[in-house]
Each structure stands twice: as structure tokens, then as C-alpha cells.
Amino acid sequence: MAGLKTMAGAVVTAPLGWLARLLDPPLRLWQRVAGQNGMAAFFLAPTMAIFSIFVLLPLVLNIAYSMTSGPALFLTERSFVGGAQYARLLSCENHFDFSTCVEDQFWTALRNTALFTVLQVAALIVAATVTALILDRDLRARSFWRAAFFFPVLLSPVVVGLIWRWILDRDGVLNAGLDAVGLTPVNWLLERDWAFLSVIGVTIWAHLGFFALILLAGLQAIPRDLYEAAEMDGTPRARVFWRITLPLLMPNMLVVIVLALIRAVQVFDEAFVLTGGGPGTATLFLTQYIYEVGFASLLKNPGLAAAASILMGGVLIVLTLVQLGLARRNERRSKLK
């Protein structure tokens, strides 16, 4: 039996060995010619090529489109207008009164996205931390609970939106329940504040498991002897949380905050299926605005949509730089300690 396994292993590894021996001389020669940096470039080239085709090129094209106007799809057939699309998006007589802006719905979408990001991320972080703390305890059927909290992450955003619309609709499950117990049904998706809160709630439900899992991993990496020492000292639980758990959870918390921020700025699918941006423009977010202008309206304006997406990309770049800055500062601090 052991001989059979060895033989099977040899059958698998032998061709790899031949290949390695075949490639070795030219690679050594290349290293001698190009040096270590040249070798790095050689191995990075395929990834960089894919990145260039699927990320960099679309980005450059998007920038180019944002400087053109007209309905034509090919760049060569579009009129160059320079920064006119950006000027149109940003032009307001009074930036505190969106009705004075040329593209008032862009500003409404921007305000909604900012408000959503602040509220949703704050609530999500609290909920994910509480969930992770609970799941970190010695619960009965702990694996089941972890799976239950993670389950919504596996669902498609469209499915999430449809499930919750079925629950929150005027004649949905929730209102039927309220009606059954004698309470007044609420138009969850037709009242501005309720609709906004519904989108926040649904997106938290959909992503909570993912972020709780990251925090749970952080919690489990905290040495248990710190808690034992605190317990021996009779330290109150709240103090243990603020002085031991939270500081040691910060690297994971930072990742969660930045990922949640980026995801919140990009909110689209769940919200679009759930509310369609309504009531009115109460849940119109930036991504939906771009989709409406570029794809959904009967007379499409890809140039304006491209400009709006570049501005949104700028916001995401700032958030990413903040993440990198904070991560590096964190790294330096931990090295000093």
C-alpha cells in the first residue's frame, strides 16, 4: 500500500521535476542578466498584465469618457468637453441648498451616501463587536450560532433585497404580523425615515456575519492569561473590555472599519432592490445615481455617469489611503512596544 502511494506520488511529482529542471537554466541566465529586480518584474508581469487590462485600462477609459459628451459609445465618436461634466456635477449657487445645483440629484445622492456611511458603519461596528463577543463565549451549540450569523453573507444581495422587501412591503409579512396583534401597520418602504433605516438595517443584517467573523478571529488571538490576571485582580468586566479587549482588538477593528466604510460608499444592490432609491430620492445613493444617468434613463449620458464615478472613486481612494496610513501607524506602534 505504501509502495503504491510512493509510486503515485512519483507519477505526480516527476513531470514537475522535469519541468523545473528544464526551466532552471534559462531562469538563472535571466537572473544574471536582469538582476533581482528584473526577476521580480518577470514574475509580476502576468499579474500586472491582467491588472492593466481589467482595472487600469477601464479606469483610464472611464477618465477619458468623463471628459466627453454625447450618446455615442465609441470614444472616437464622442465630443471632447474637458472638465465640463465635472463642472456640471459640482456646480451649485449655494452648496448648502441642493435645489440650486445643476445636478441636484447628484448632491442628494452624495448626502444620502455620506449619512448612510456614517450611520451604517457605526451601527455595524457596534453590532459586529457585540456579536463577536457573544460568539466568543462558551455558548451551547456555538458552531451553529456562528454559522447562523454568517449565513446571510452567503446570500446574493438581490436575494437579500427581495426577502426583505417581502417582509417590509405595505402588505408584507411584518405588517401582517403587526395587524394580527392589533398594531397599526407602517409603510416601512414608503416613509422617508423608515425607508432609510430599513436600508441600514438590511445591509447590516446582510454583512454582519462577515465582520463579526474578522473580529472573532481577533478576539481569539488575545492571550487568555491577560483575562486571568484581570480576574485575579478583580477588575470589573467593563474595564477589562475597555483596557484589554478593545486595544488588542484594534488591528482587526481597523480592517473592519475601513472595509465597512468602502462597502458602505459603494452601497447599491440591496438598496436598489429594496427601495429603488425611493421614496422620492430618500434612499438614492451615489452608485444608483451613476447607474440611472449612465444606463437606466431613456436618454443615457455616459459622460456624466463616468465623471460621477470618478468622483466617487476619489472618495474611495481617500478612504483607502486613510486605511493604509492607520495600518502603518499601528504597525509602527506595535514594533515600538
Partner: protein
């Protein structure tokens, strides 16, 4: 041996390329049962024309509305498409004239609506209407009878209808009195009935007028007092299309304003759950107009097989085929010969269908000139989109009607400038 292999390979290559050369791809959406009927017709065509392979891509309407234009702008897309946004995309349609065996047949039978699907000033034959549509209302007769409220008669105004429906809603506990689809097209017959005219003297969009203001004001008021279902218009942003057909089918509203294309849908989904009637378009201050329209089957100019496309189109436009298609789908035909011959044998056992179709045929006589001009007007889409977008915001309490009307003018002007 080598020669045999080479000859076989060449033969297979030629066979393959000839099969590809005669592929004709149709992008098709359905409101009712017409997809099933079209599949049947396509199979019959292929049996008659074994050299042409027709591929019927059945897609949701949203795909045609949002993705087809992008494909066309890129010089791609199907060979034939079923579309409703016919005029605005007219530059992408193929002139079939040189490929047709009898262009005069098309001019005679489809000439009335030819301008709807070709660029201004063009004499091209680009396709034909698979159905002529007309916007109009439907009432749930059973709910009206249960409430003891008489159906408003001929000449009844919008207010008459909404008030009567509100009485029914109060009596029967429905969600609202009425609903109208979230679509600029759907309200434009009504605005014309209040004297609105969208088309300026220069052919470009005219500023919104008193007719638009009056009907938009009514819509806003009806939403505010709960008589019009909030869900359809208020619950979305932008120009998204939303129909309230399901609310009517579920008896959540006693009165619904949509159009003739709903007849087959209602017949299939309502069945004998309740009796319903088509009531035409309620009256405004200057008329009782609906808005005509239709879905057209058009040839796409980027096709590589124009001759085959023309053959498919000729088959589907044949008088007997049009008659059969209309009778089976319960759609109003747009073929002059079929209309003139009359006697369509609607294939349904639903007693509500025949009178409903007759009602729409009769209501077609009430179309006002301002409404009749819209289907062949290039900028109608810009107008419709701006109306929906801004009136919804007024309904949601985000702006006043005056602000919305000013925005509508601005939005339309910007869209026209961007498109030019």
C-alpha cells in the same frame, strides 16, 4: 488520405460558415403570452426556410430598455429586436427596402406608423408594429358592484373616476382608489386631455404648460390624500418604470390606468376571480385622450445577414401571420389590411376580453392631435423621463410643483443638449 481529410475539413468549414451566415437572432420581450406565440411562428418559419436559423432570445423588458441601446451604440446587438423606444433609436434600424420582395405591401399596410420607427424625413422601411397599443383605464366591476357604486359613464372626467373609485375603496377596504403606471408615457394622454402640448414650433421640446401643471397637480393631490396608491410612483427614484398591474390583479385597487397590452395579462392572471372592464381614458378639460404607442419589430442595421433578416420580417409581417398573432396574443393589430378586413377571432374564453378590446378600438377615435404626435417625436423619451423623475419628488414632498416644473424644463433641455 491527406486530400480526403483536407476536403472534409474544407467542407466542414464551409458548412459551418454557411450555417453562421444564415443565423438571425431576435431579441424579444413579452408582456403576456406573445413569446409562446412567437416561438411557434419562428419554428414554422424555419420549417419553411431550412437555410435560415432563427434564434429567439427571450429577455425581460428591462433588458431591452437598458441594455439594447448600449449594444446598438457599440454597433452590436441582435439582428431583429422588439422595442418600444422606437423613434429615439431610429438611427440604428436597417432600411429593409432593398431586401424586400414587395416594399409596397409594407407601405400600404404599415405606412401609417412607419414614421414612428424611422428618422425624421426618411422613407426607410425599418419594421412593423407587432401591436398597436393605447393607454386606458380598467375598472374592477365586481368591487364597484359590491360597493353599490355605479361605473362612471361616457364623458366622465378624471375626478369623476377617482372619486367613484375612492367610494369603492372606502367601502371595500382596498389599499387605495386607483393607480397609474410610473411612466411618462402613461400620463401623457391625460396631460393632453388637459391641453398640454410637448412639441414646440421648432420641433424641439416646448416648456411644460398649464395642461401638464393641472394633471400633475391632481396626481400629487391624489397621492397626498391617499386616493392614488403611493407604492407605484413614490417608492422609486429616477426614471424607473413601475407598473401597478399586480395591484389591480390582486384587487388592491378598483381603478387602474395602464393600457391595452394588459388585456392578455389580466385574462391570464385574473381568470374568473372578478369581472373587469376597460373604460377608455377619462376626460380632462379639452378631451378624453389616451396615448397610442406600440411595440415594434425592427431590423438592426448592424446585422451581417440583411437578406435573411428581411425574409424573417416578411414572414412575420404576412397578413395571415399578423392576424394569427393578434388573435392568439389578444393584441390590437397595426396592419391596415387586417384592420380593414376585421372579424378577428380572439382566441379566449374570457368574457371580459372581447368587450375590452372593442373599447380600446373605440377609444382610439378620441386621441387628441397633441397626443397623436408624440409616438413619432424624437424627444418624447426625454419629456417622459423628466416628468416621472420630478413629479415623483413632489409626491414624496421633496420639492414643490413649481420647482418640479422648472426642473423638468431644465432636465429636458440638458438631455437634448447632451444627446445632440
Amino acid at each position: 488520405m491527406r486530400k480526403t481529410l483536407a476536403a472534409t475539413a474544407l467542407g466542414l468549414a464551409l458548412l459551418g460558415s454557411s450555417a453562421l451566415a444564415s443565423d438571425v437572432r431576435i431579441m424579444w420581450y413579452s408582456d403576456g403570452v406573445e413569446g409562446e406565440v412567437m416561438r411557434d411562428l419562428v419554428e414554422r418559419f424555419m420549417a419553411e426556410n431550412p437555410g435560415i436559423n432563427v434564434i429567439l432570445d427571450e429577455v425581460p423588458f428591462q433588458v431591452v430598455r437598458e441594455q439594447l441601446q448600449i449594444q446598438l451604440e457599440a454597433g452590436e446587438g441582435p439582428d431583429i429586436a422588439r422595442v418600444t423606444n422606437i423613434k429615439a433609436l431610429a438611427r440604428h434600424w436597417l432600411d429593409l427596402t432593398p431586401h424586400l420582395s414587395d416594399p409596397d405591401y409594407w407601405r400600404t399596410n404599415f405606412g401609417t406608423h412607419a414614421d414612428w420607427m424611422r428618422e425624421d424625413g426618411s422613407q426607410a422601411i425599418t419594421g412593423f408594429l407587432t401591436q398597436l397599443t393605447l393607454t386606458g383605464g380598467f375598472a374592477n366591476r365586481t368591487l364597484f358592484e359590491q360597493a353599490g357604486v355605479a361605473l362612471p359613464g361616457a364623458g366622465a372626467t378624471w375626478d369623476d373616476w377617482v372619486n367613484a373609485a375612492a367610494e369603492v375603496a372606502a367601502s371595500q377596504g382596498t389599499a387605495a382608489a386607483f393607480a397609474i403606471d410610473r411612466s411618462g408615457h402613461r400620463i401623457s394622454g391625460a396631460t393632453a386631455s388637459f391641453g398640454a402640448n410637448y412639441i414646440g414650433a421648432d420641433g424641439l421640446p416646448a416648456p411644460v404648460d398649464a395642461g401638464v401643471r393641472e394633471f400633475a397637480g391632481k396626481l400629487v393631490q391624489w397621492v397626498a390624500d391617499g386616493r392614488m396608491l403611493r407604492d407605484t410612483w413614490v417608492a422609486a427614484a429616477g426614471t424607473s418604470y413601475r407598473a401597478a398591474a399586480d395591484d389591480f390583479i390582486n384587487a388592491a385597487i378598483p381603478f387602474y390606468y395602464s393600457g391595452s397590452w394588459q388585456i392578455a395579462n389580466f385574462s391570464t392572471k385574473i381568470g374568473d376571480a372578478f369581472d373587469w372592464v376597460a373604460v377608455g381614458s377619462p376626460c380632462g378639460t379639452v378631451g378624453c385622450s389616451g396615448l397610442a404607442g406600440g411595440a415594434a419589430l425592427v431590423a438592426v442595421r448592424y446585422t451581417e445577414n440583411p437578406a435573411e433578416v428581411a425574409k424573417v420580417m416578411e414572414f412575420l409581417a404576412r397578413e395571415d401571420i399578423i392576424r394569427e398573432f393578434s388573435e392568439r396574443t389578444l393584441f390590437l393589430p397595426a396592419h391596415a389590411g387586417v384592420i380593414a378586413a376585421g372579424g378577428l377571432d380572439w382566441q379566449t374564453e374570457d368574457r371580459n376580453v372581447g368587450p375590452a378590446l372593442d373599447k380600446f378600438v373605440a377609444a382610439a377615435e378620441n386621441i387628441l392631435p397633441a397626443a397623436a404626435a408624440l409616438p413619432s417625436w424624437k424627444w418624447a423619451s426625454a419629456y417622459y423621463g423628466a416628468l416621472v423623475n420630478r413629479i415623483s419628488q413632489v409626491m414624496a414632498g421633496e420639492m414643490t410643483l413649481d420647482e418640479a416644473l422648472a426642473r423638468i424644463d431644465q432636465d429636458i433641455a440638458e438631455q437634448v443638449a447632451a444627446a445632440q
